[in-house]
């Protein structure tokens, strides 16, 4: 998992809770990297799961909800860090369609070792977009949080529903976005 996700997670925890909570979850999770995250590094996704698990232990908020919230937060950070991916895109459907074929391709150019989830889509009608998330890591909640924030970013009235697909929990999911 790319370092930017960890850096943003740590920043979010520090901003939402406190530096102590950050220190506590790192102590509790005891990540191999020692919690010294840099945006240009790459770390095991297990460290993220451990950190979130530790945060859940402290805050008593369920892990899926924490990850979902982090997804909401992460989209705003992406808009701020990588505005070029949002420039000239006017709506959520258009943006989501660029993830697999454009954004992920650009990420791979810079970080050939990055392991990215597969984000496929289909359009049964003009008003419906079906997004299929498949990953080796269980971050469907993160994806859901990102999609939700994306709809908000474009200020559209779109209903988002989720259906988990067969496989390990959280690794395969289908999201249906329906314009209202």
């Amino acid at each position: 998992m790319k370092g930017v996700v960890f850096v943003e997670f740590i920043d979010m925890v520090e901003a939402s809770f406190s530096l102590e909570v950050v220190d506590q979850i790192i102590e509790a999770a005891a990540p191999v990297s020692g919690g010294a995250y840099t945006t240009v590094g790459t770390y095991s996704h297990q460290e993220m799961l451990d950190l979130v698990g530790a945060l859940s232990g402290i805050t008593k908020v369920p892990v899926p909800q924490l990850i979902h919230t982090f997804g909401n937060h992460l989209l705003g950070r992406f808009v701020s860090r990588y505005p070029e991916f949002f420039a000239g895109v006017g709506d959520a459907f258009s943006f989501i369609k660029t993830i697999e074929d454009h954004i992920h391709q650009e990420v791979l150019k810079l970080y050939p070792e990055a392991e990215l989830p597969s984000i496929q889509y289909s359009c049964p009608t003009d008003d419906v977009l079906v997004v299929t998330y498949k990953s080796t890591r269980p971050f469907a909640d993160l994806a859901e949080g990102l999609l939700e924030a994306c709809i908000e970013h474009f200020d559209e009235n779109i209903q988002l529903s989720r259906e988990d697909l067969k496989g390990s929990p959280g690794t395969h999911a289908q999201f249906i976005l329906t314009k209202q």
Binding site: I26, G35, A36, Y37, G41
Partner: protein, 578 residues
């Protein structure tokens, strides 16, 4: 918040920075290597492009060289094949002029026809090759449409009569007389069409028609037709007519089938001229081949001059008038047969000819005396015509250095004329030489030279009877009226005995005697204004001097009649003065 938390955070920050620096260092190295690799790839690509470009340049040069070789090969073939043919055709022509029995004449005629046919085939193949190589250029000049048609009719008159076919022409009044275009190529197309028509027609009619089709701004479109009453061509065969190497066997005549190039070449020539060609035919009802071609109008001032020229010579076909020239020509030609032919032609049109068999001799001849025109063969042993021309042009005597030099050669590719002109030659006559071509060229170059023909006043009597009263009167003024009568008596007495002597020398085949007797007559007759007689005497003298006894004998047959006319004219002038 304890200090430990901050310390740990700082520690994490420091380690993160170190890790980030390490990763950046690695990424930089990767980028550097990738950049190097790209640079290498670019260089390889550039080398590949350079190599490929060089290969293409070599391939292009090879293709150009091959094309150039092909052109050179054609030029050489043209020379190699046409030179000996020229010799054969010319020698056969001269042979026909000698005394032959019926059988010999028959064989000679067969040989002449076959040689002419071979020349036509060679010309067709060369034309076709020129067209294929896009080297077929047109040579537009003003020409007389009626004269052109008359020439075609003349050429086929005998064939048509042998075939019991009426060969007629119909020139509509609306067709302009003079036009600017490539008359030679129009003639070639007409000759081809008439030749074909006669091959497929027996006992009927072949009709050449010419009429005005339209006038568009500065272009005049003429419609030519060649209509026969022959076997006709099926619709199926009409499709193939303009394809190369296709020919229909003339069922009725059994004549030789040609290369199948005549019609395709004609069609292509007409297209090159911007015109079009077509056919209307049905089996048993004959065929009509037609073509329409745009010509330029002859500018008014030139037209006026042309008409004036004809008016001045009323009673003469234009070609006849031009076939009498005067001047001294140096003929540089190594091939004996070609020498004989060119010399015979030149002498027949009244020119004095000296010979040189190579460039060295030509240069020597010009350094020893002036010439009006040099006819220079290009390919000669020891020194070729171009080298000789270069040396002549360097003469310190400006008038000799600027002697008009006309290339006389079988090189016939487009561009040769320009090449010869660039080498310092003034003009070009293509072999096999024709009398008309030679006359056309030499009349131009000799027109700058004053000669007897220029002092002859305009007259509508034939050359041999030309008599200038003005010249006679000038002489009378110079010698005095009182001396005229005895002088004329002496002259007329002398004239009678001289004509006898000339006729005797001719009958005995005595060339020296002919020359000896004609020489004084030439100048004395001119003194009395009897230019026709003088010219005739000069012709006989020159022919006799140049071992052309047969021609001298033929010409001498006219002498008595012209002498009698001169006598009558002199007497009538004297009578009038009394």
């Amino acid at each position: 918040m304890s200090d430990d938390v901050f310390v740990r955070r700082l520690d994490r920050e420091r380690r993160a920075r170190i890790e980030a620096e390490r990763l950046l260092e690695n990424k930089s190295r990767e980028l550097y290597l990738a950049n190097q690799s790209l640079k290498g790839l670019t260089e390889t690509l550039e080398k590949q492009i350079t190599d490929r470009t060089a290969d293409l340049v070599i391939a292009r040069d090879e293709a150009l060289s091959a094309s150039s070789s092909k052109s050179r090969y054609l030029a050489v073939m043209s020379h190699e094949v046409r030179s000996p043919l020229n010799g054969i055709i010319g020698a056969l022509g001269l042979l026909t002029d000698t005394t032959l029995d019926t059988e010999q004449l028959q064989y000679t005629n067969i040989a002449r026809k076959s040689a002419a046919s071979l020349l036509s085939i060679v010309n067709n193949i060369l034309d076709f090759s020129k067209i294929e190589a896009n080297k077929m250029g047109l040579e537009p000049a003003s020409f007389d449409v009626r004269e052109l048609i008359a020439g075609v009719i003349d050429a086929f008159e005998i064939v048509a009569s042998e075939n019991s076919t009426n060969l007629v022409c119909e020139i509509y009044a609306d067709a302009p007389k003079y036009l600017i275009g490539d008359g030679g190529r129009i003639r070639q197309v007409l000759v081809n069409l008439v030749d074909n028509a006669l091959k497929f027609t027996t006992g009927g009619e072949v009709r050449i028609t010419v009429g005005l089709e339209s006038v568009m701004s500065d272009k005049i479109w003429l419609l030519f037709g060649v209509k026969d009453t022959g076997v006709g061509i099926s619709e199926e065969n009409q499709v193939h007519l303009f394809k190369e190497f296709w020919s229909q066997s003339p069922e009725s005549s059994g004549a030789i089938v040609g290369t199948g190039l005549g019609l395709p070449i004609s069609n292509r020539l007409i297209k090159i001229m911007g015109g079009e060609m077509g056919i209307e035919s049905s089996i048993g009802e004959g065929s009509l081949f037609w073509f329409s071609v745009p010509f330029d109008k002859v500018p008014f001032d030139k037209l006026e001059r042309g008409e004036k020229h004809l008016q001045e010579n009323t009673g003469y076909p234009a070609t006849e008038v031009q076939q009498s020239l005067s001047g001294r020509i140096l003929l540089a030609e190594d091939n004996t047969a070609n020498q004989m032919i060119a010399q015979a032609m030149l002498t027949k049109i009244g020119l004095h000819v000296d010979l040189a068999v190579n460039g060295t001799e030509a240069v020597e001849a010009i350094s020893s005396r002036p010439y009006d025109v040099v006819l220079m063969d290009i390919d000669m042993p020891e020194m070729n015509g171009i080298e000789a021309t270069r040396l002549i042009r360097k003469f310190s005597d400006a008038s000799r250095a600027s002697t008009p030099i006309v290339a006389l050669t079988a090189y016939a590719m487009k561009g040769d004329r320009e090449r010869f002109l660039a080498e310092g030659l003034d003009d070009y006559v293509e072999k096999p030489i024709s009398r008309a071509g030679l006359v056309a060229c030499l009349s131009h170059w000799l027109s700058k030279i004053p000669g007897p023909s220029e002092v002859v006043p305009d007259s509508d009597v034939p050359d041999e009877s030309l008599f200038s009263v003005t010249t006679l009167e000038t002489m009378i003024a110079e010698i005095g009226e009182e001396n005229l009568s005895p002088l004329i008596d002496v002259f007329l007495n002398e004239l009678d005995s001289r004509v006898d002597l000339i006729e005797r020398a001719a009958a005995e085949g005595n060339a020296d005697g002919l020359a000896k007797e004609c020489h004084p007559l030439k100048s004395s007759a001119a003194s009395f204004g009897a230019f026709g007689l003088s010219k005739l005497a000069r012709e006989i003298e020159e022919k006799a001097m140049h071992d052309d006894l047969a021609a001298a004998q033929t010409t001498s047959r006219k002498l008595r009649k012209v002498a009698q006319e001169t006598r009558d004219q002199l007497i009538s002038v004297i009578e009038a003065r009394r």
